[in-house]
């Protein structure tokens, strides 16, 4: 259970806060999507959940972020690493560089955690199966494509079995096929018990398919917060410069042209769209 109270954060030397007065609770096991226009503070929010704000970036943090019993502000980044995991956009920068095969790369974090060899071997094998990296396991992480590297990065963090997994636009630098591969992994995670997932994404259709809940950030505030169905079909999204899923847009046009009864709910996924347009 993640508790955020009055979270306000200033990067060093900045007068405007990147995050303002955020109050949130994220129940354990929830798959939470985060959207917002550029500059809204989405990345900063990710960093606040995982301790990089304030420990890595310094700056001024007010309010409280608690992960279960752990207060992020009081914790130590090194010790937090087993509890939280962060995946970000650039695949190449997430390959540690200190290991020569994918298998060893995935084991790297577990070695740092000081786990016994047998456990490391087991977890690495399980993670390789889960993410589908079997064919790549003995190859060098540097001989992989961006999409493959990103899957290795996710695997490397997942193997540490964090209670909270945060992904900051993990597919924005990937080609469509790799994007699909990553979302397939997230699909598996969505069903998993125990891992809370926070996903920042611009590809709203995907969020709609997995998320239990969507939070809209704008100018460092939480602007909207609720079920994906409501939020993503909400016309107010335009105001935040986000836009809606392509299905909602098509549906809006259809409603305008009176092709479809007004009462029908806006679709946000392909399945719903098919129903809508029947």
């Amino acid at each position: 259970m993640i508790q955020i109270k009055g979270l306000t954060y200033f990067y060093p030397g900045q007068e405007r806060p990147a995050l303002q007065d955020i109050d949130l609770q994220i129940p354990s096991g929830q798959f939470c999507g985060v959207v917002g226009p550029n500059g809204a503070g989405k990345s900063t929010f990710c960093y606040a959940l995982t301790g990089f704000v304030p420990h890595f970036f310094r700056g001024a943090l007010q309010g409280e972020v608690k992960l279960g019993q752990i207060s992020i502000a009081d914790a130590n980044l090194g010790k937090l690493a087993g509890e939280v995991g962060l995946v970000f956009q650039n695949p190449f920068n997430q390959i540690s560089g200190a290991r020569f095969t994918v298998r060893e790369e995935i084991a790297f974090g577990l070695e740092n955690l000081g786990l016994p060899r047998k456990i490391i071997e087991r977890r690495v094998d399980e993670t390789i199966d889960l993410i589908g990296l079997g064919e790549l396991a003995e190859r060098s992480p540097f001989a992989l494509s961006g999409g493959q590297q990103q899957r290795v990065a996710i695997a490397s963090v997942l193997a540490m079995q964090p209670k909270l997994l945060v992904l900051d636009e993990p597919t924005s630098q990937l080609d469509p096929q790799s994007t699909q591969d990553v979302f397939r992994i997230l699909d598996k995670l969505a069903g998993r018990v125990g891992t809370t997932v926070v996903l920042v994404e611009q590809k709203l259709e995907w969020l709609a398919a997995f998320a239990d809940r969507v939070i809209v950030l704008s100018h460092g505030h939480v602007s909207l917060d609720g079920q994906p169905q409501k939020i993503l079909s909400d016309e107010k999204m335009e105001k935040f410069g986000i836009g809606q899923t392509q299905y909602s847009l098509a549906a809006a046009a259809a409603k305008k042209k009176k092709l479809v009864p007004k009462s029908r709910d806006f679709p946000i996924t392909l399945k719903q769209a098919i129903e809508f347009f029947k």
Partner: protein, 260 residues
């Protein structure tokens, strides 16, 4: 690996030797290179000690090729400079007022042989040992993990920096270099060429460090290892014996030098 190390994969006895055993052999070669008195001794050691080990390790060919590549420029430079400028009695030929002597040449070749033996020992180590295994052996003996990280990561990421530099180079060549451009202008060109590369690398480093933190890199406490290094009693005995012999050689050579 992307061929950015000397390591030649294999399953031979030499490959399976513990990295520190091979380090000790490298150290022995270094000591021999420094203490053996003359060219015949040095060459004999190289042939009798290193070549058989390389052969057992099935790396004889790369070993010879690399040794040659390393030593050839030294042989040339040393022959020329010591041949002409180290005093000797037997002139072989002259160039203007400079006399090339046999003794000078011999002195030059002797230095080259010392370099050959010393670097040969290091080459044997590098060709038969994967760098991460070498680093693991050292961290098990107390070397900080960050050093191991720096060496291994630098080895793996530098090709990408070379590629980026290559792109910059080609763009520059496409723009064409005016041959009569002032040298100051050329120096000035360096900043917009190299600046962005360096700057973006610093910014990427922030993400890189974050990824490391996410992998518990700065976690206090003991770290474990997936890799298991093979060792044996015999190797341990061999290592101590060789170290004692090497140190004995050092003492002996100092004593011989100063007891005259």
């Amino acid at each position: 690996m992307r061929g950015s190390t000397l390591f030649v994969p294999g399953q031979t006895v030499i490959h399976h030797l513990h990295p520190v055993t091979k380090l000790v052999i490298t150290f022995l070669c270094l000591v021999l290179a420094g203490t053996l008195p003359s060219l015949p001794w040095l060459l004999t050691c190289f042939v009798v000690l290193l070549l058989p080990l390389a052969a057992i390790g099935r790396i004889l060919r790369p070993f010879l090729l690399r040794s040659f590549a390393v030593i050839a420029p030294f042989v040339i430079s040393l022959s020329v400079i010591q041949g002409f400028f180290t005093p000797g009695q037997t002139p072989l030929f002259h160039l203007g007022s400079f006399i090339f002597t046999f003794e000078g040449w011999l002195a030059g070749l002797t230095v080259a042989a010392r370099i050959l033996l010393a670097l040969g020992g290091a080459l044997l180590l590098m060709l038969s040992t994967r760098p991460d295994r070498l680093m693991l052996a050292l961290t098990e003996r107390g070397m900080p993990g960050s050093l191991a990280y720096v060496v291994l990561t630098a080895i793996q990421i530098f090709p990408r920096f070379q590629e980026r530099a290559q792109v910059i180079q080609e763009a520059q060549q496409a723009r064409g270099l005016e041959i009569h451009v002032n040298i100051f202008r050329r120096l000035g060109l360096l900043v917009p060429l190299m600046g962005p590369l360096v700057l973006s690398s610093i910014m990427d480093t922030e993400e890189r460090a974050m990824a490391l933190e996410a992998r518990a890199f700065s976690r206090p406490g003991r770290k474990t290892s997936l890799l298991l290094l093979e060792d044996s009693v015999w190797q341990r005995i061999a290592r101590w014996t060789i170290m004692v012999a090497a140190l004995g050689l050092i003492v002996l050579s100092f004593w011989l030098k100063f007891a005259r």
